[in-house]
């Protein structure tokens, strides 16, 4: 949100920082995994690793959309509510079959994202505030659909839909594969298409992108629609996993998504970032939670202190690394 560029020199720092931040997170992840493996006998068990992967996948899908949005210099606070809404709609739709269970949440969540994009691109309102409003809106809609949260739609135990969340291939959960596929597609979209280039350009210098004749408004609308849709996908997977449309999920998820994207080295100012970094960020977060559990004696109130401190430490290390490199 802040222009970090005090001078061309620090701007250069920022770019280098981009590279280092990515590597920094990956380094921390590898070290963290190694340490956990060493310290906790059960950490490396296949069950635990499988569960780590599965648990990461839901947030990863949301963070994927967030990565695009943040690279474009925007932010999407509505993903948490949208995610919960998607889950409820999927569970509701599952009564009418697999197709409805998938298409209904996708359509509604994309639409909310689309409206976000429309308002941001066409009226020039700040993404922060527009998506803050739709955070409220999506949550309100969810409550309205579930008679103020009193109704929880359940998915029939026999439904084919459940496979999306609970199925496994070679012992690894289907959501994990789906997440990997989405990330691969996301990487392709970001790195190998004109759309992706526009996203970087808009994040780096919106006015210039406009003057260079890029379809700025269209790209932004697509971006927020994509983010909404991915939140919907995460909702679908979660509904299938939880076998019901739980109404209390997704609170504060937007902040989780933002922090993993940033930990992954994407600049919040826009214009630089990677998909892989986000994946690293998500895994780091899951790792921390897992380690906290393995330690097991941490007072629950301390746990949040640790999470906050961890976020800070990673970001500060990235920053210092980037600095020392440029000197």
């Amino acid at each position: 949100m802040t222009a970090q560029s005090a001078t061309p020199v620090t701007e250069r720092n920022a770019a280098l920082a981009g590279v280092l931040q990515r590597q920094g997170a990956a380094v921390v992840l590898v070290l963290g995994i190694a340490a956990a493996w060493f310290a906790f006998p059960r950490f490396g068990s296949p069950d635990n690793l499988r569960d780590l992967a599965l648990q990461s996948s839901f947030l990863a899908v949301i963070a994927l959309g967030m990565t695009f949005v943040i690279i474009s210099g925007g932010i999407d606070l509505s993903v948490g509510s949208n995610y919960a809404l998607g889950g409820v709609l999927a569970a509701y739709g599952a009564q009418y079959g697999l197709v409805v269970a998938i298409l209904l949440p996708l359509a509604v969540c994309s639409l909310i994202g689309f409206v976000n994009g429309l308002l941001i691109a066409r009226t020039g309102m700040a993404p922060f505030i527009v998506t803050l409003a739709s955070l409220l809106f999506a949550r309100g809609l969810l409550l309205a659909l579930t008679s103020e949260g009193a109704t929880t739609y359940k998915v029939d135990a026999g439904s084919a839909f459940l496979w999306l969340g609970q199925g496994t291939i070679f012992g690894i959960g289907v959501p994990v594969y789906l997440t990997l596929v989405l990330f691969a597609l996301g990487g392709l979209l970001l790195r190998r298409t004109r759309f992706g280039q526009s996203v970087f350009a808009i994040g780096g210098a919106e006015q210039s992108a406009l003057l260079m004749g890029l379809p700025v408004a269209r790209t932004k609308i697509s971006l927020y629609t994509l983010s909404g849709a991915l939140a919907g996908v995460a909702g679908i997977l979660t509904a299938a996993y939880l076998q019901s449309g739980v109404t209390v999920i997704g609170v504060g998820t937007e902040l989780d998504a933002i922090s993993v994207v940033v930990i992954g080295g994407t600049l919040l100012t826009g214009g630089a970032g990677t998909i892989v970094g986000t994946l690293v960020g998500v895994l780091l977060r899951t790792l921390i939670q897992n380690v906290i559990n393995q330690i097991g004696t941490l007072d629950s109130n301390y746990q949040t202190v640790v999470s906050g401190a961890f976020l800070l430490v990673v970001v500060v290390i990235q920053r210092l690394l980037a600095r020392s490199r440029t000197r």
Partner: protein
């Protein structure tokens, strides 16, 4: 045709500048007509008292946003302030208040340092504090809510001077001070310059880092003050719940009040009215007994409309 467009431009410009005030007036009129028992001194008192903490936090937030920053830690700072109060109330309410505000200043120093000297993006620096700060407050308080009995201290939240609640007076005084700081001090002018173009401000020899630390310190201190007042009004220290989602309420008030998130501009009076507007919206929804679902959707719509009207023509 062109005169018509000019007229339109004038109307939009007017709305941009005075939209919040107009919205507050419209909402007041609506309530006068459609809400039972709205026109009473006690009711206005309630609205002002409830708006006061948000308003105070929003003032600090407005300054931070003016520098193109954002402070997500305000809610957690409130909760830290709340957690500290019962520990020091035995030594007198003044001591407790001073300690709480000091804690706010320290956390402001902390985020200011991260932003100004380490160059960490404000949203992420303060997010860390948002996550960790409340945990810290709970650790201090052992997760416990503590009932407060100190008369002097409780007077802050319930007492009044010449018929005006102390909380409202504090908020008003702070708003006037904030206005003076922004308009009449070098610090204030520097902060908008830093928000407008940080690189240029640096080259112009402005104390950019000190200004940045300064705004976060002010924001932290004001959040702590709001925490003190809210705690007093509650007659209990409740670190678990106090100030939850305050960051979002405050940012909404600031932006609805016409301060752009892109920095370089601070509207203090607009912020105050932004807080009042959101308070009135909230009150209206409750008084008409709308269910939570509808209430949230209506709030969303009102935020969008208010910000649409107050938006800068070319801001992102």
């Amino acid at each position: 045709m062109s005169t018509a467009t000019l007229e339109r431009a004038k109307v939009t410009a007017w709305l941009q500048d005075y939209g919040v005030y107009l919205a507050v007036v419209v909402l007041l009129l609506f309530n006068v007509v459609f809400t039972e028992n709205f026109l009473s001194a006690a009711n206005f008192r309630t609205q002002l008292v409830q708006a006061a903490p948000v308003c105070i936090v929003a003032l600090g937030m407005a300054l931070v946003i003016g520098t193109e920053g954002i402070d997500l830690s305000v809610g957690s700072v409130m909760s830290i302030a709340a957690a500290l109060i019962p520990l020091y109330l035995g030594a007198g309410s003044l001591t407790a208040i001073v300690v709480a505000v000091l804690a706010g200043i320290v956390s402001g120093l902390f985020s200011g340092y991260l932003v100004a000297y380490l160059g960490i993006q404000p949203i992420i620096a303060t997010l860390a504090l948002l996550v960790g700060g409340r945990g810290l407050a709970l650790v201090i308080a052992h997760g416990q809510l503590v009932q407060l009995h100190n008369r002097d201290f409780l007077e802050l939240g319930t007492g009044d001077v010449l018929g005006v609640p102390i909380m409202v007076i504090v908020a008003a005084v702070l708003a006037v001070l904030a206005g003076l700081v922004v308009q009449r001090t070098t610090f204030g002018r520097h902060l908008v310059a830093v928000g407008g173009n940080r690189a240029a401000s640096t080259l112009a020899g402005l104390p950019v880092k000190r200004v940045l630390v300064g705004v976060y310190v002010i924001s932290g201190a004001l959040a702590a003050v709001a925490g003190v007042l809210a705690t007093s009004r509650l007659a209990a220290s409740d670190p678990n719940d106090l100030g939850l989602l305050m960051e979002l309420s405050a940012i909404t008030a600031v932006v609805v009040g016409g301060t752009p998130l892109s920095g370089g501009r601070v509207r203090v009076l607009g912020t105050v009215f932004g807080a009042l507007l959101m308070q009135l919206v909230h009150a209206t929804l409750i008084k008409h007994n709308l269910p939570d679902s509808t209430a949230q959707m209506v709030q969303a719509a009102i935020i969008v409309v208010a910000v649409y009207v107050a938006r800068e023509r070319s801001s992102r």
